[in-house]
């Protein structure tokens, strides 16, 4: 029950009633502190050299999955195909057009697509555990957790907790999860057959959900209704990459560049491991650590914006506002609502800065050049891959999918080491 805000009818009502600050948190216990990084070191010292496996997973951008004969994909969505299996068996199903999301952690599949017979994970009281994920647009996904083997390329992560999103045979969403928002957990809602969260972290929530005040992320769900609870790290949703027996210190995403009018499709690679095989060397990439919530500082026109992040699951460059950028917002009744619509393309440069993941204490800065064009004609075109659309994101930068075009972007997973240092870090 903690993690909820309890008000006396909301802000407008409080004004009517003459009551001012009406929002309170239910706080049941002392703080559990922030998420830990690297406290348990890398995943294990092995004395044998594993036989290399295929670590190259194809990724695509296209019109998305078909639903009733209609393509339901969105613009700038990166997809891959994931195979899930009943743990330890060859009873498997492949799911195409799963969205590759570096902004979240864990695999989430709409319940309607899951054909495997998978028991819901339960807690010590034998109550099923519910998992919640919220997104910035106040959509959410809610559902039980099951364990599957996750196969991509030649890699297998065994018994990985994943979320089954939106099943009908599960408890109703708790109010602290929906938070007044809207579910987005069908294929049509998502424009994808699920989300593969392969971000900077091992777990979606981490130690903050394992001890201390429970957050609105994990819930124990007896018949009387779901209540927020703490769950162990191993019971949380996992980034499957760090559970691979090898090539488990991170990954890279490699996508070609597109022209100013975009492209109708694109093919690239997601390569597992960093510096573990001949195909995943860092080369000249600059590594920058992120903090324990996955953010870093972007400097724009001399002003530092902490809380910035890189997110392949965002469909544009989202940064600051119209006043600071000088970019007009697209009309709110247009197809490009939520984007910028300058009359002609505008070029920008920003600087991303983070600590050196080697822990040297010397910050690493990288200039990033990008361009923003009028989103409306692009979005109304037949193309679905764009390197030059963006919109407002007050107070910070969300380096979305366009950032990945024409780049190799390395994602160093928390607590995992490579020649770049120890994650969480980005390198590009």
């Amino acid at each position: 029950m903690s993690g909820r805000f309890i008000g006396l009818g909301g802000w407008h009502d409080s004004a009517v009633a003459g009551v001012t600050a009406v929002l309170l948190l239910t706080l049941a216990a002392c703080s559990g502190g922030s998420s830990s990084t690297g406290t348990s070191g890398s995943t294990g010292v092995t004395t044998t050299t594993p036989t290399p496996v295929n670590n190259v997973q194809p990724v695509i951008m296209d019109y998305g999955p078909l639903v009733n004969g209609q393509y339901v994909g969105f613009n700038n969505v990166l997809y891959t195909t994931v195979t899930i299996c009943v743990p330890g068996t060859t009873t498997c199903q492949s799911i195409d057009h799963v969205l590759v999301d570096t902004g979240s952690t864990g695999l989430r599949i709409p319940a309607s697509l899951v054909t495997l017979n998978l028991p819901f994970m339960t807690d010590a009281s034998n109550n099923p555990i519910g998992n919640c994920v919220q997104y910035a647009d106040t959509t959410y996904q809610w559902g039980p957790i099951v364990k599957v083997d996750v196969q991509m390329a030649g890699e297998v992560a065994s018994s990985v907790p994943i979320q089954i999103a939106g099943p009908t045979n599960f408890a109703a969403v708790p109010a602290s999860c929906s938070a007044g928002g809207t579910p987005a957990q069908t294929v049509t809602d998502l424009g994808a057959n699920g989300l593969l969260g392969v971000g900077l972290f091992r777990q979606d929530c981490g130690s903050a959900c394992a001890v201390g005040t429970p957050r609105a992320v994990y819930f124990t769900c007896p018949a009387s209704g779901c209540v927020a609870t703490s769950v162990s790290l191993t019971a949380q949703l996992q980034n499957p990459v760090w559970l691979f027996p090898q090539d488990n210190n991170g990954l890279s995403i490699i996508l070609p560049q597109v022209g100013a009018t975009g492209a109708v499709s694109l093919s690239g690679s997601m390569i597992f491991g960093i510096g573990t095989q001949t195909d995943n060397a860092l080369g000249g990439a600059q590594a920058q650590a992120a903090d324990d919530v996955g953010t870093f500082t972007t400097t724009f026109n001399g002003i530092a914006y902490p809380g910035s992040f890189i997110d392949s699951g965002s469909d544009g460059y989202f940064f600051l506002n119209s006043t600071i950028t000088g970019l007009p917002n697209c009309a709110s009744n247009s197809d490009a609502d939520g984007f910028y619509c300058p009359t002609s393309p505008v070029s920008f440069t920003a600087i991303n800065t983070g600590p050196n993941p080697k822990g040297s204490g010397v910050a690493v800065s990288t200039n990033v050049a990008f361009s923003i064009a009028n989103a409306l004609p692009l979005i109304d075109s037949t193309s679905v891959v764009f390197n030059n659309i963006g919109g407002p994101n007050p107070g910070s930068f969300d380096w979305g999918l366009p950032f990945f075009l024409g780049r190799t972007v390395f994602i160093g997973i928390e607590g995992q080491s490579s020649s770049a240092g120890t994650g969480p870090y980005w390198a590009y």
């Binding site: 929002l23 922030s34 647009d137 609502d337 939520g338 107070g395």
Partner: protein
């Protein structure tokens, strides 16, 4: 205010009140790292709220019936999961962030005190 203090005690929330020349800021801090700010006119009316924290606070509590207007405006757009901004004639809501780190703010243009701009709602 008595009920606020009662609830504050009941729920062990930490609250700070910051006096400004033309308005008051009530800061409510939760030990999960969530920070809520309410911006209150001298007449005791809340003209803006902001939030930052690991999850999104319950907007039905925070925005009251204005959440219905916000959700309606958001749902008229395509689901994109990333930052969203609703700029209606009176109601403005901005929400951004990602797993572990969300922030947002909302205000009513009609209720901004004289001489106070929306920039104060942060």
């Amino acid at each position: 205010m008595e009920s606020v203090e009662t609830d504050q005690s009941k729920f062990h929330a930490k609250r700070a009140v910051l006096e400004r020349p033309d308005y008051t800021v009530h800061e409510i801090t939760g030990d999960d790292g969530t920070l809520i700010r309410e911006y209150v006119t001298p007449a005791g009316k809340v003209f803006g709220v902001s939030w930052t924290g690991p999850t999104i606070p319950d907007l039905t509590q925070l925005l009251g019936t204005y959440n219905a207007e916000f959700q309606s405006s958001v749902r008229s757009k395509r689901v994109r999961r990333s930052a969203v901004a609703v700029h209606n004639a009176d109601l403005v809501v901005e929400s951004s962030g990602h797993m572990r780190a969300f922030h947002g703010r909302a205000y009513l243009n009609s209720m901004l005190p004289n001489g106070v701009t929306e920039d104060v709602v942060q």
